[in-house]
C-alpha cells in the first residue's frame, strides 16, 4: 500500500536523528511522553529509542486501552462469559488480561464461549447467525474505536436485534491527560499526540495542553519517520520557546476531526460520571456508557451486571509505569513475576503496553543494572 515504505526510509531516518541530536545539544534534557501505545510499539520495534541522544527521554503514557483496564472490569467480563447461553465477543488482547478470578482465555478453556473478533461488526454477525445465543460485545478503546461500536449498535437497533448487547468500556483521552498534567509528580516537557484518536477528534481539542498547561503537543503518525519528525517538531518548539498544537499526521487528521464520527458517538453514548483507570484511579467524566436511546443494548442494564472494586496486585507497578515515573525494568516483578507469557500487570499483556514492548524487544537486557 502506498506511503508505508516512504515512512520507513532509513536514510531519512538517519537525517532526522541527526537533526534531533543537533537540537538537543543545548545542555538541557527533554522528557517527552508518547500518549499512545501504538507509538510505544513503533519506538521499540524500529529502535527509535536507540538512536536518540541521552538528553531526549521518552516516557510511555496511558494510551493503551488494555493497559488501563482495571481488574474489576475484567472480572465483569469473565462473569458474563460464564453465564449460560452467553457468547462474549472481544478484541484479541483483552483475552489475556488477568482479573482476580482469571482471564477470559482461562474462562474459555473452562468452557465459556468467548470469541475473538476484529471489529464490532463481526460480533453483530455472530448475533445474526446464532439467534439462540445472547451475544455480548465487550467494547474497549478510546475515541478511535468508539465510533465503530456506535455504528454497530445503530445497525443492531435498526435490525431490532434482540440478542445483541454491549459492555461499554470506551474511554476518553482528555481526562487522563489532564489527570497526568495535574499530578505534581509527573514532569513532562511535551507530548507526542495520539494520531488515530485525532482522526476522530481532530487536533483542535488538544489545544488545552499548550493553553492551560504550557506544554507543546504534536499529533503524530505511527510510522518511524512520523515519530522521529514529531520528536524534532517538539524539540523545535521547546528550543524556540513556542508552545502550540502541531499536526504532523495531516495526511489522516483533519484539524476539526470527523464530524460524522462525533455525531454518531453523541447519539449512542453518554459520559459516565467517573470510571476507574488502572494505575490512575477513578477519573471523573473519563468514559462512555450507552445513552438512554440505546439502553436495550446495554448488557450492564439487561443482565444487572456490576463491576466489583478489585485492588491491583500489590507487587504490580503499572500505575507508576503509566505515569512515566519509572521505567518498566524498574518494576520489582518485571521479567520475573511478570512476563508476556504470564502477565501480572496489564502493561505486560498488550504488545502496545510499555512493559511488553521493553520485554519483547530486549531493552531490559541492555538497560537494567546487573545484579551484583
Amino acid at each position: 500500500m502506498r506511503y508505508v515504505q516512504e515512512f520507513r526510509d532509513p536514510g531519512l531516518g538517519r537525517a532526522l536523528a541527526a537533526e534531533i541530536r543537533t537540537l538537543a545539544a543545548d545542555g538541557r534534557s527533554y522528557k517527552l511522553m508518547e500518549v499512545c501505545g501504538g507509538h510505544t510499539h513503533t519506538i521499540y520495534r524500529y529502535g527509535i529509542d536507540g538512536i536518540l541522544p541521552p538528553e531526549v527521554e521518552l516516557v510511555h503514557g496511558p494510551g493503551c486501552p488494555v493497559c488501563v483496564l482495571p481488574m474489576g472490569r475484567v472480572d465483569l467480563a469473565v462473569a458474563t462469559a460464564r453465564m449460560p447461553g452467553v457468547t462474549l465477543a472481544c478484541f484479541g488482547d483483552v483475552m489475556r488480561v488477568p482479573g482476580s478470578a482469571g482471564s477470559l482465555l482461562e474462562a474459555r478453556s473452562q468452557g465459556a464461549d468467548v470469541r475473538i473478533v476484529y471489529s464490532p461488526l463481526d460480533a453483530l454477525a455472530i448475533a445474526r447467525a446464532e439467534p439462540d445465543r445472547e451475544v455480548v460485545f465487550f467494547a474497549i478503546g478510546f475515541e478511535t474505536t468508539a465510533p465503530s461500536t456506535a455504528l454497530t449498535l445503530r445497525r443492531a437497533q435498526a435490525e431490532e436485534l434482540a440478542n445483541f448487547t454491549c459492555i461499554c468500556n470506551h474511554v476518553l483521552i482528555e481526562p487522563p491527560l489532564r489527570a497526568l498534567l495535574d499530578s505534581a509528580d509527573v514532569q513532562i516537557d511535551g507530548f507526542i499526540g495520539p494520531g488515530h484518536v485525532a482522526t476522530v477528534l481532530g487536533a483542535e481539542p488538544f489545544l488545552f495542553v499548550p493553553r492551560e498547561y504550557g506544554r507543546p503537543f504534536v499529533v503524530s503518525g505511527f510510522e518511524p519517520l512520523d515519530v522521529l519528525q514529531s520528536i524534532r517538531m517538539l524539540l523545535e518548539q521547546l528550543r524556540e520557546g513556542a508552545c502550540t498544537v502541531q499536526n504532523q499526521y495531516g495526511r489522516a487528521v483533519p484539524w476539526a476531526g470527523n464530524p460524522r464520527a462525533l455525531a454518531v458517538m453523541d447519539e449512542v453514548f453518554e459520559v459516565r460520571p467517573e470510571f476507574e483507570w488502572r494505575g490512575l484511579g477513578a477519573i471523573p467524566h473519563s468514559a462512555l456508557a450507552l445513552s438512554g436511546a440505546y439502553a436495550d443494548f446495554d448488557a450492564e442494564r439487561r443482565f444487572a451486571l456490576h463491576a466489583p472494586d478489585v485492588e491491583d496486585p500489590p507487587a504490580c507497578q503499572c500505575g507508576e509505569v503509566l505515569k512515566g515515573l519509572i521505567k518498566p525494568w524498574d518494576c520489582r516483578i518485571f521479567g520475573t513475576g511478570c512476563t508476556p507469557e504470564r502477565p501480572a500487570g496489564t502493561c505486560m499483556v498488550s504488545p502496545e503496553g510499555a512493559c511488553a514492548a521493553y520485554y519483547t524487544y530486549g531493552r531490559h537486557e541492555t538497560e537494567r543494572e546487573p545484579v551484583a
Binding site: G37, S119, E352
Partner: protein, 79 residues
C-alpha cells in the same frame, strides 16, 4: 482470504503479534466493491486479506480508493 473472527484478528509482524484495536492502530485498505446502500465496502489489505468495512463515517466510496480503517470502520480517506 477473509479475516475477521478468530486468532487471525491479530496482526502478525516481525517479532510480535499485535492487536489492531487495542494498539489504536489503523491500516490502509483499498476498496474492491462498495455497497453504499448498506454503508459497507469490501476491501483488501496489503496482505491480500479481504475484509468488510463500515463506510458511513467517510461518505460514499468507490473501487480503488484507499481508506484508513480501524476496528472494521473507515475513519478517513488517505489524502
Amino acid at each position: 482470504m477473509t479475516r475477521g473472527v478468530g486468532p487471525e484478528a491479530l496482526v502478525r509482524g516481525p517479532g510480535a503479534v499485535r492487536c489492531t484495536t487495542c494498539g489504536d492502530i489503523a491500516e490502509s485498505v483499498r476498496v474492491v466493491r462498495a455497497d453504499p446502500g448498506a454503508g459497507l465496502a469490501l476491501c483488501v489489505d496489503d496482505s491480500g486479506h479481504e475484509l468488510t468495512v463500515q463506510t458511513e463515517l467517510v461518505g460514499p466510496v468507490a473501487a480503488g480508493e484507499v481508506l484508513l480503517v480501524h476496528a472494521g470502520t473507515a475513519l478517513a480517506r488517505e489524502a
